[in-house]
Symmetry: C2
Subunit: 465 residues, 2 copies
Amino acid sequence: MTPEILAQIRKIVGMDYVFTEKEDLFCYTYDGSFVLDRPKLPGVVVMPGNTEETSRIMKLAHTYGIPVVPRGAGSNLSGGSLSEQACIVMQMTRMNRILNMDRRNMTAVVESGVITGTFQEEVAKMGLFYPPDPSSLAFSTMGGNVAECAGGPRGVKYGVTRDYVLGLEVVLADGSVIKTGSATMKCVAGYDLTKLFTGSEGTLGVVTQITVKLLPMPQARQTVLASFSNLDQTAETVVEILSRGIIPSALELMDQVYIQNIESFMPSGLPLDAEAVLLIEVDGPKSSLDEQISEIAKICRNQGAMHIRCASSQEEREKLWAARRGAYGAIARNYPTIISEDVTVPRDKIPEAVRRVRKIAETFQLTIAIIAHAGDGNFHASILTDEKNSTEMARIQQALPELFKAALELGGTITGEHGVGLTKAPYLPWETGAGGMHVMKAIKDALDPKNILNPGKMFGNRSWS
Amino acid sequence: MTPEILAQIRKIVGMDYVFTEKEDLFCYTYDGSFVLDRPKLPGVVVMPGNTEETSRIMKLAHTYGIPVVPRGAGSNLSGGSLSEQACIVMQMTRMNRILNMDRRNMTAVVESGVITGTFQEEVAKMGLFYPPDPSSLAFSTMGGNVAECAGGPRGVKYGVTRDYVLGLEVVLADGSVIKTGSATMKCVAGYDLTKLFTGSEGTLGVVTQITVKLLPMPQARQTVLASFSNLDQTAETVVEILSRGIIPSALELMDQVYIQNIESFMPSGLPLDAEAVLLIEVDGPKSSLDEQISEIAKICRNQGAMHIRCASSQEEREKLWAARRGAYGAIARNYPTIISEDVTVPRDKIPEAVRRVRKIAETFQLTIAIIAHAGDGNFHASILTDEKNSTEMARIQQALPELFKAALELGGTITGEHGVGLTKAPYLPWETGAGGMHVMKAIKDALDPKNILNPGKMFGNRSWS
């Protein structure tokens, strides 16, 4: 980064929002993902305060052909927000205003740096509901959620981020600004650019504003914990509940490794003798919940559940969910490195997928714990390790492709909600085929001909054809 | 179309599936839309029997630079499936097999020529539910629904076609075949090509197979008819119901012109003294419906409803819905030409939109009837006329842009579910801006560099920048 370019950047956003010190830059070689080769320091970190500044920085980057890595809270799990040498990190967290909250139309407009959890709280104050709930919601940004198309436990009933984004303001590679979509519930005016940018991992544009739809807050919620002596039984119960026509608002599976780590960290009443538990929540009109819960309990009993516990109070419900949300933290206390994969399979393939994961763990002598948004077939196979153990890391490098192959063989995907980023770029062609890659690359080239937007992510740096 | 090319086409699909007689070709200058300038006869109509034949025809078209107009049942309302001179009409109705129905995973795979209503019936036999319900569902195809991103009354609760398409098989402009998406509930492996192709009106590829997600069939449904002496009141009631947190599965508005035409055609018990009626349906667990219906009735009473009628039997419910579905036919008996516009506004703007439509009708001395998926703010302003009346047609040509301007001024869109096609191509830039058009055109050029896929549709034939 030449001093002239840095001077121009400082002129656009002001001295206080440009960072070039090594200790600042160093942070941006990390995000929530695990990558073996530590990325090089970026050239500069810039925090634009509004769309115009974002646009002017992009224009500058475009003129000089400088790579730009857009970034929210850096919580993503696939290396999508990692810097690359000589790049501009476009840090969007300063743009954190909720611009509009429309109770009557149940829509809102936010800047991309708004924290998802904060937004949900503001929405709830109006009696409304923003369903997407990635586990990172306490710190991840709405813009980051859009870039990655974040999911979460509620996906089984409520879908994911893409199902709530109605429109976007996006700064394109050349600095021009477009608006996509509409604040209306239905819109077919041209290509669905909103959905195209959602999940494009910052490779097609920098999202500055987001219009989302909201739902009425469900009248009531109820939660059940069911434990099983057998992981296969647990997975089968998931299929059974859904095929009976019950759509819970969450349907989470945790295996023994998770249960034991959670209980030793924050005792939550999870049964230590279980091989797996299901955490099941239903929501909706109060009058409809008891029936659903008793039906769910019946199905769990028929499937051989050891214990079934319905949360009898709000406190008990929250305690169960705190355990689920704390799962990753609990396990991180005992394992220096966790590689969290998120292969996804059709949900009736969950039992088979569990068997495959166990086989892979055995073959490569690895500890793999399973936590899953089981209702979606969305598996987080967490490889528990220590990156200092180089022989184990080598085995992991061999095991990962086996995991992705297994997911694809079962009719699934290599990533349900974490995205492609850097870590899965080599494997994306396995899923899309060369034809799919060509179409994606053609779109990328058309919108970013100089390849300055988050280069290397999704497509990797090597030939895939 | 040279005899050589026709011979090659016949060789690909067989003699029986190639049509070149004038009387056959003539049909393809019509679809569900109203266009002033009758399109010229196409060169040939081809009915491929499978993906491979579709691909081979596209390869041929690509080699010789022949335009291809993909077509389902031709029911679309924006001229999206109209032929153009010298083109190949790719008629997809032969590919009408349901390839897979997966009850446990609640997904299905269909060929693009499957009739939507037929598919819904097959799905229902398994206790499952495919919600998209365009009024054309008795004859429109799943492929056509995907191409147009069809909507319908259930959009207010269940969304539209794009919300159910998980994956596609698409034949691209050069004849290559790609698969997009995944049969899994969550998938973020690369750009969301599935949603990009959905609603792209046959300008980016020919859809041959569609994977959709299904829902459990709701346990029960209840329907209410509420009539009002005042159209504004009716519109206000829609906003009131939704902002109280009730999401009906349909929330339809019909004005006096529709009521009177329906009653004179198929007496259905609609109150002739009303200025407008709301047809409201709720669905879900049986135990939750009474409460919702009584809350809805209360809101209607508070808003000054003249009559409120809850359907007490399945027959009564069906009769009310038959009236709604027959509305277009009823009105078509009395008016030779109906121009059905579908501007959409944020739903609390419905009263204002109604006033604007009336003002426009008055200014240009037109009869405009209103039928609306009011819960979505999706308005069908039906201009009732006779195309032989050239002075009235001239006034309509002036009125239409005013209608689109009004929708945009109210924060809406020029098309909620009918698409852009030919008829709205001149107005699309008003909504997307030049920047949005440039992005769409860049994608179109990248995927179809010879511009052979449905040329003229969406982008029009003139410069928009």
